[in-house]
């Protein structure tokens, strides 16, 4: 806009300055990783801060990653698992959160706490029982097993966060829907879900990160070549005594990309959620 107070412009400049400073703290270290993935091992360790120079640049890491393993398939597996789990976590989680935040019923507090138990104990501890269940269900080495576990794992946090945000949706609005003849289901899908879009996007991001980065359950439940995820695939290069740093860095750099894209997609939803704008 053309006319803005100089003090305000000054303030904005300060804000930018602070944000840039912190953004550098966030981004630079990551850049170091990505940058080094394009270098030779020698250069990685001799001068980790140097950008890849003609003399030190190397795509060896990427070459190893592409040739030694079926990385494209791993990507696909990771995406299927992440998006699949995400869908169920958001859907089921939002439904449960709505029930808990909207209605007053006898078991309300109890169920809230019951669901919250899941964020208090690392699900890893249940590994053996889960694995046994999957074995008897014949789901070992299927992506379904992973989707099921991640859905269960993501639900508690999703319910916790979403119910907090759903309490902020105006009662008048839901009531208007009720008078308009919307069933409780439609109120949820047509009114409440779109209105908590920023929270949904936030939960989506929080849910997808640990799923994408998880090593444990892919290792236990789906270590087969055809069901391997990216994170598990990258572990190949982390040896007992020898680590192929070029390859690890390349694999990990590659693994950042898809999740970054997913993140960007969801944060766009967040923006849209805002511009849809609440009217009192």
């Amino acid at each position: 806009m053309s006319t803005r107070a100089p003090t305000q412009r000054f303030r904005l400049a300060l804000v930018h300055l602070a944000l840039i400073a912190y953004a550098l703290i966030s981004v630079l270290p990551v850049l170091v990783v990505v940058m080094n993935s394009f270098k030779t091992r020698r250069a990685i360790f001799n001068a980790p801060l140097e950008p890849p120079l003609p003399s030190t640049a190397s795509l060896a890491g990427y070459r190893t990653v592409i040739t030694q393993s079926d990385f494209l398939l791993y990507f696909q597996n990771s995406l299927v698992v992440t998006i699949g789990s995400l869908f169920f976590v958001l859907l089921f989680g939002a439904m449960a959160a709505f029930a808990l935040s909207e209605y007053r019923f006898k078991l309300n507090t109890f169920l809230g706490l019951f669901l919250a138990l899941g964020i208090m104990v690392p699900i890893r501890l249940g590994t053996v029982a889960i694995l046994q269940m999957m074995v008897s269900a014949g789901l070992v080495n299927t992506l379904t097993a992973l989707v099921l576990v991640y859905t269960a794992q993501g639900l508690p946090l999703a319910v916790f966060i979403l119910s907090e945000f759903m309490r902020n949706v105006s009662d008048d609005l839901k009531n208007a829907g009720r008078i308009d003849g919307l069933s409780e289901y439609r109120i949820f899908f047509v009114l409440v879900l779109p209105l908590v879009r920023p929270a949904l996007a936030t939960v989506a991001v929080f849910t997808m990160i640990p799923i994408w980065n998880d090593l444990w359950f892919p290792l236990i439940l789906a270590p087969g070549e055809s069901t391997k995820t990216v994170t598990l695939g990258a572990q190949i290069f982390l040896g007992q005594f020898v680590t192929n740093w070029e390859a690890v860095l390349s694999a990990l750099s590659l693994a950042i990309l898809p999740i970054l894209v997913l993140y960007l997609l969801f944060s766009r939803q967040l923006i849209r959620g805002i511009t849809a704008g609440a009217v009192k």
Partner: protein, 334 residues
Amino acid sequence: MHSLKLTRIVKTFGQVEVLKGVDLEVETGEFVVFVGPSGCGKSTLMRIIAGLETQTSGTVEIGGRNVDATVPARRGIAMVFQSYALYPHLTVAGNMTLALKEDGVPKAEREARVEKAAGLLQLSPLLKRRPAELSGGQRQRVAIGRAIVREPTLFLFDEPLSNLDAALRVATRLEIAKLHRTLGATMIYVTHDQIEAMTLADRIVVLNGGTVQQVGRPIDLYNRPDNLFVAGFIGSPKMNFLTKRFAEEAGAATLGVRPEHLKVDPAGAWAGTVRHAEHLGSDTYLYVVLEDGQEVTVRIPEETPIAVDDAVRLSPLPGRLHRFGADGLALRAA
């Protein structure tokens, strides 16, 4: 058959008793207007009728059926909220059609109804916008549109016109009246506007402090208010209340006379001085201080040369005096 019957409705919020036992029967097709000072419980009563709030005690019957256990959607009502409660993520058209879609109204019919309502409320150019891009009045019109496209049997309007300009207000008012006639729907309407209340209502319900003060035809409330509160509340400018000599002479604790029933008359019995004058073009309001210091408002239905500080004499129109006892109740056998 009663379209709506309220029996001893009581509502408390925590300690505060907001409704203290409201009884009301509304006939099918009747247009009932609730008036009362701000905070007297009008919206709360509407919300109880709609089923959005649970009464602390008492029963609500709609169409002869007890609906205490019926969800709002099943009560066959449409409501315009004082806060509009538009769906922020839907366009104007989306706001209006949502309920219809829900009822399974076919698309063509839906569009026809929306078009009609939009035309009526001058919303046609705005159908694609979202609530955040509308002005206050536009939002209010969308809220009205959303209710009328549904053509329910019982309408609840909570101050639906308060943000509209005079012209649109008159037009919408007339449309609501027409809607009422053509649909034969029962309507409950909250307003602060005297003219709306007087012109739209079959009956007016005057609420104060959570109780019904008087229920009756508008003109009856105007002509025969039951008590000081109703007398003061119905009519604008407000009825003048005189005590002391004037009241005593009439054998009442308080004597009421409406501004429009005081005439400037050189032979008038009451003498006073003009303290302030408001010129509305169509009318002039004179604020006259009588000899004993009491002040009265006089409405003159035209412009007048009388100016501030002029001495005037007033005479009340015969038969237009209202007498009230010490308890505030009207003394009828005048």
